[in-house]
Symmetry: C2
Subunit: 369 residues, 2 copies
């Protein structure tokens, strides 16, 4: 019924693969004309931008003679290619690449809309955030990034709706990392009864694939800080960067300087038990107050304060009762009063992260067509 929309996708990792699966099943899917991975790019041939790449067979599509193969393209080259397509185009960035994210304004000014779970564009310097939204307005392009916080959970959309309809968001609080949720739900369950040592819990999480390859990338709190930066900015705070507010790192100072090499990771895991007594002390301190300790992030909009770190919670609170690697996000607002609006559930994983990307893409397609 409406003009076709053209789609470029970058990244075929866990989220990227899950997204392509969802895309392949989408009715009225846009035409996939670019699929880029680290060193390879598959394109529909110009100037017809046809045939498109079959999303369901993306793995073998590289053998299709009618498609164009290329090495890695620069963001500028990708933007030029998409902008010349015979219709509106959308870029889905399924990477966590900061360089690509810093090029979003180039795409947007050319009228290319962006859908992404990549936090980097929205949580780095405030100037990039402002440039992204100014460029989108200039290029009449759309930007959707639900999966940058809480994966597919309705977090960004809910906060934007609260703000857009004139509610006053006073406070946002929650557990924003699936990894840290799992670590503390296991180390200090509200129901008690765990005597696992901190280092054992970290090792188990690493073994289960719940942490980044280098667990320090979770324990440093930076991922949580980036999510808080995004939420605080949507709520109206001009947060300069994700390190412009206090972040409590769970990496012992003594181990912070170990190299990030695989050897450094091994050393870190080997030496982590030296700090078990310290974490046990934190756990017991909370227990003595009848509470449990959790790693949370919060934004106090009135005080313009963002904080990321350990905090004690009543055992019957929603945060204390979290299960597995679930996230929970509470929005306190004028209209909702003393009981916040709460969103809870899996905040990580390929399928649910991709779900947020696909749902965003559907909304962009609805608005562009």
């Amino acid at each position: 019924m409406s003009a076709p929309i053209y789609l470029g996708v970058i990244g075929v990792g866990g989220v990227g693969t899950a997204f392509l699966n969802q895309l392949a099943r989408l009715p009225n899917a846009p035409k996939l004309i670019l699929l880029a991975r680290s060193s390879q790019t598959l394109l529909s041939p110009t100037p017809s931008y046809s045939p498109s790449i079959p999303a369901a067979e993306w793995k073998t599509a590289v053998e299709t003679p009618s498609l164009t193969k290329s090495g890695a393209l620069t963001p500028d080259e990708i933007a030029s290619y998409l902008a010349s397509a015979p219709g509106r185009s959308v870029l889905v960035d399924n990477t966590s690449d900061p360089a690509l994210a810093s090029s979003y304004p180039v795409f947007l000014r050319k009228g290319i809309s962006i859908v992404t779970p990549n936090k980097k564009g929205f949580s780095s310097d405030l100037s990039l955030w402002k440039d992204i939204f100014a460029s989108a307005a200039e290029g009449k392009a759309l930007v959707y990034h639900e999966s940058t916080v809480g994966a597919g959970l309705p977090v960004i959309s809910t906060l934007k709706d609260l703000v857009a309809t004139g509610d006053e968001v006073t406070r946002i609080e929650g557990v924003f990392s699936g990894t840290l949720s799992f670590l503390f739900n296991t180390f200090a369950p509200a129901s008690g009864g765990s005597d696992a040592k901190w280092s054992e819990v970290v090792a188990k999480a690493k073994e289960l694939g719940y942490t980044e390859p280098d667990p320090r990338d979770d324990l440093n709190g930076m991922d949580v800080a980036r999510k808080l930066t995004i939420l605080a900015r949507i709520a109206g705070l001009d947060v300069q960067s994700p390190d412009s507010f206090p972040i409590e790192s769970l990496i012992p100072a003594e181990l912070a300087s170990l190299p990030s090499s695989s050897d450094g990771i091994t050393q870190f895991m080997t030496r982590l038990p030296e700090f078990d007594a310290q974490m046990a002390g934190i756990k017991e301190g909370a227990e003595k107050a009848g509470k449990v300790v959790r790693y949370v992030g919060s934004v106090d909009v009135g005080k313009k304060e963002v904080r990321v770190g350990l905090q004690q919670f009543d055992k019957d609170s929603a945060i204390a009762g979290l299960k597995g690697s679930d996230n929970i996000i509470s929005f306190y607002t004028r209209r909702y009063g003393s009981n916040p609006l709460i969103v809870q559930g899996a905040g990580a994983g390929g399928d649910v992260t991709a779900m947020g990307v696909t749902a965003d893409l559907i909304k962009v397609l609805e608005r562009l067509s």
Copy 2:
């Protein structure tokens, strides 16, 4: 930047008034050209459809000489008026009128989009549901009704995103009535320690304005059944009507035939204590099992079963721990696995219901412009 969009609003009750307040503060608000209450209609004069009605001063706008006054118009007359506006138009129905809801197809076929918290159109006969969405497709018009379930909580949008992105929703469960939430959270709190009688709790809720003028309109479970009907249909079940599945009414059979007059309400409240022992028995039965009783609704998509009624829950479950008059809605899906996606918060009240309406209106404006 784009062509103006024209807006008709029906209803100036609690939700309607709150909506008009939010509309008045909206940047790039559409042109309000019709405002209808029970017996009065205010219109922008034809054929120019100008000036528009100032949303901020809607109460005194009736004295504006340049606006047209009329008595009540029929849905057909309103649809004709809106369809002739010099641009796309949207109807916001802030009533709970079943007759107006049954006319949605007339509006939609004329290309008028609909935004509403009115459950009637989506929870009555399945034929009306089908007619609404077929008419919308025919008229290329949009239908948004977030506030029909859980007020402004992101319930409908979340469920639609799950379905549209190809997740398999297996089960939906929750507390869908703010009134019944308050009644049971007060009557049988998870923390124990309440010896209030059931009839006292109902009387208190009535006094606080938490119930409908006739509390039987809450206690009969019909409002919950309508919400479950809507969710079940979005999840793919062809529910014929909101009484085509079991609904446990909390109105004692002996009092069901009392008239709905104000005299009948008084008689009902006077005789309710006769049944306190029965409700105390239900509460104690749950307590003996270490649980609490709650009034919940559930959809089992696989078994095609919808149920509304009392159920026992573990004291440390999220449903048992609800506070005040909050709603909670859990979505169990293939992608989310054993831990559901949960949305929780105030599910009733003028401001938060209007927020869902305003947020929907913003989405419609974004798609139409």
